[in-house]
């Protein structure tokens, strides 16, 4: 595993541990009369970080779900073309999603969106999500340019 990929896994893992810890303390706190204020907002932020990294991780490892029934029966040459087509279609989808998400982020940037209870700065969260989408898009485009069987 490259150092960059390893760092990504540890950051994603840290976000998972953060979500685990916050929700566990929230439950314990509720039972002993010390409720954890803003626990849902904290978990949302942690889940956004973990989820954004997860999108990149699944794309890098090519773990995304596919139906292989017909593709497995194609000739190697045909599989190669179909594979490239699928990568380009995925890139188009990610580009559209990124465009929509970035559009919203730009519109809302000046309003300095904060969460209601503990003030999680949502614009930075949106930025993180958009950067992750952009990285996933680059990964898929690289797959398309290199060409790989479906």
């Amino acid at each position: 595993m490259s150092p960059l990929r390893s760092a990504m896994v540890w950051i994603g893992g840290a976000a998972l541990i953060a979500a685990t810890a916050v929700d566990t303390f929230a439950v314990i706190g509720r039972q002993i009369g010390w409720p954890l204020r803003g626990s849902i907002e904290l978990v949302q932020a942690a889940v956004l970080v973990a989820g954004s990294i997860a999108l990149i991780a699944a794309t890098l490892a090519d773990r995304h779900a596919k139906v292989q029934l017909i593709v497995d029966r194609l000739s190697p040459g045909m599989r190669h073309h179909v594979g490239r087509f699928c990568e380009l279609m995925t890139a188009l989808f990610l580009l559209c999603v990124l465009a929509g998400s970035a559009w919203l982020a730009i519109e809302l940037w000046s309003s300095s969106e904060l969460s209601e209870i503990i003030g999680v700065p949502w614009r930075w969260m949106r930025l993180f999500a958009n950067l992750s989408l952009a990285i996933a898009l680059v990964v898929v485009l690289r797959h398309a340019l290199r060409g790989r069987p479906a």
């Binding site: 595993m1 390893s6 896994v9 540890w10 994603g12 893992g13 998972l16 979500a19 685990t20 810890a21 916050v22 929700d23 566990t24 439950v27 978990v43 949302q44 889940v47 956004l48 973990a50 989820g51 954004s52 990294i53 997860a54 999108l55 990149i56 991780a57 699944a58 794309t59 490892a61 773990r63 995304h64 779900a65 596919k66 139906v67 292989q68 029934l69 017909i70 593709v71 179909v82 594979g83 699928c86 279609m89 995925t90 188009l92 989808f93 990610l94 559209c96 999603v97 465009a99 929509g100 998400s101 970035a102 559009w103 919203l104 982020a105 969260m125 949106r126 999500a129 989408l133 479906a150």
Partner: protein, 434 residues
């Protein structure tokens, strides 16, 4: 420009893209996006996509999924599958076909800490298959019981499929988990009944093993008590409403950390591997959910579900006939599409029709998951069959399929029971709710 015909065209294009091998999430999302661009315009379509992606990534309820996946990874590293199978084998192994019962029970046990059919079949298979073959079990019974038993992973809570259905259909994940308990148990009992019948008819397929002493049984139970406690806390906590599914997942992951630490299995390499697997699987499911939500907006904008609902009502099949028709449709489509694609393609279209037939979305979630499971054990897809072949490489795929056939028959009976007796699904959540 929105019309049911546009929706139908979208579904046809989606099927073509899926069969071409495009990532399921990207196929759903792309068809949905282009469809929305055609029906509503480019700007609303892009904005909708932007809203959906951030909504999904920040959805508190969706935190359930990665945390349950993390819990499963940690339990897996702590040797949960071996211990669960061993305990079941110590209690049942001396009976004729006993190790096959133990494999099914082990799958059900592993299903309570993991929500995937494939992972359950693979991990229990690695432990149970060599043991059964060493004891002279027929290949057909050994592989069939694990391939079919693996599907319990998808039904018994926590279930990845039910979490995804809950998000897509906007239903309570806790209620879905509670509703799945009785169908999960009855499915397991039906599989055990199949083994009982098979070894009564052909005793040589499942020979008896030596009886374990109570001391050995006690030792086997001592190795799994901590996991049983965690599982009871997680599933029981959700069922009685003590914790939300997200909180239960967090408690489960914390417990799994503790169990792994107590067993001295916690290391940096193990953690990195658990995190990597959890993130990769979460990413797979997140992309699918993002795509499915965009697709479902497109489908509802076109009015396709209403038009199909009217067409089905015009057939005058009645509630039972309509549900049988839907079951046949799902099984047919399930033989060419993988389970997740089947669920995400059909949920927005079939949910209103099922509602018109008098069934609730909770019932449909369980029914759909059950139909998905059947796709895991019948050709041409039958992913569990290939997973088992990966474990028992010398057993030809047609032998594995032959072994799974009696279990497949019981699956059809179970599906029919769910239609005839909706209380199997709806009684427990209603009773606990009261």
């Amino acid at each position: 420009m929105a019309s049911p015909e546009i929706g139908l065209l979208g579904v046809v294009i989606l099927l073509a893209l899926l069969l071409l091998g495009l990532r399921i999430g990207a196929a759903l999302g792309l068809v949905g996006l282009v469809g929305l661009m055609v029906t509503l315009g480019v700007e609303p379509a892009l904005i909708k996509a932007g809203v959906v992606v951030i909504d999904v990534l920040t959805k508190y309820e969706l935190g359930t999924l990665p945390l349950f996946l993390l819990m499963a990874q940690l339990f897996f590293a702590a040797n949960a599958s071996r211990d669960l199978f061993d305990a079941a084998a110590k209690f049942l192994g001396h009976r004729r076909g006993g190790l096959a019962y133990a494999a099914v029970a082990g799958c059900a046990g592993f299903g309570t800490i993991n929500g995937s059919s494939l992972a359950t079949a693979a991990t229990v298979g690695m432990v149970a298959l060599p043991e059964m073959r060493k004891r002279g079990y027929a290949d057909t019974l050994a592989t069939g019981s694990v391939a079919a038993g693996g599907t319990l992973g998808q039904m018994i809570p926590p279930s990845g499929a039910l979490i995804v259905f809950g998000i897509i259909a906007e239903q309570s994940i806790g209620t879905l988990f509670t509703a799945a308990i009785i169908p999960g148990i009855t499915q397991m009992l039906l599989y055990m009944a199949v083994i009982w019948i098979v070894v009564r008819l052909r005793p040589e397929l499942g020979p008896t093993s030596e009886r374990a002493s109570w001391a050995e049984r006690g030792k086997a139970l001592a190795r799994i008590w901590d996991m049983i406690l965690m599982i009871a806390l997680v599933i029981g906590g959700i069922a009685v409403g003590w914790v939300s599914p997200s909180e239960a997942a967090a408690i489960g992951a914390t417990g799994a950390f503790l169990v792994a630490a107590i067993r001295r299995r916690l290391s940096l390499a193990m953690l990195r591997s658990a995190f990597a697997s959890t993130l990769e699987t979460s990413g797979l499911i997140l992309l699918v959910i993002i795509g499915a939500l965009i697709f479902s907006v497109f489908v509802s904008v076109t009015g396709l579900p209403d038009a199909l609902g009217a067409a089905v009502r015009a057939l005058n099949l009645g509630s039972f006939g309509t549900l049988l028709l839907i079951a046949a449709f799902l099984l047919l489509l399930g033989s060419v599409l993988d389970g997740l694609a089947l669920m995400l393609l059909t949920t927005p279209i079939l949910l209103p029709i099922v509602g018109a037939a008098g069934m609730t979305p909770i019932w449909f979630g369980i029914f759909l998951t059950r139909a998905m499971e059947i796709g895991f054990v019948h050709p041409p897809l039958g992913m569990n069959l290939y997973v088992i072949q990966g474990v028992a490489k010398d057993v030809p795929i047609n032998r594995i399929f032959k072994g799974v056939l009696p279990f497949l028959a019981s699956d059809f009976v179970h599906l029919l029971l769910l239609i005839l007796f909706p209380a199997l699904t709806l009684w427990l959540p209603g009773w606990i709710g009261n």
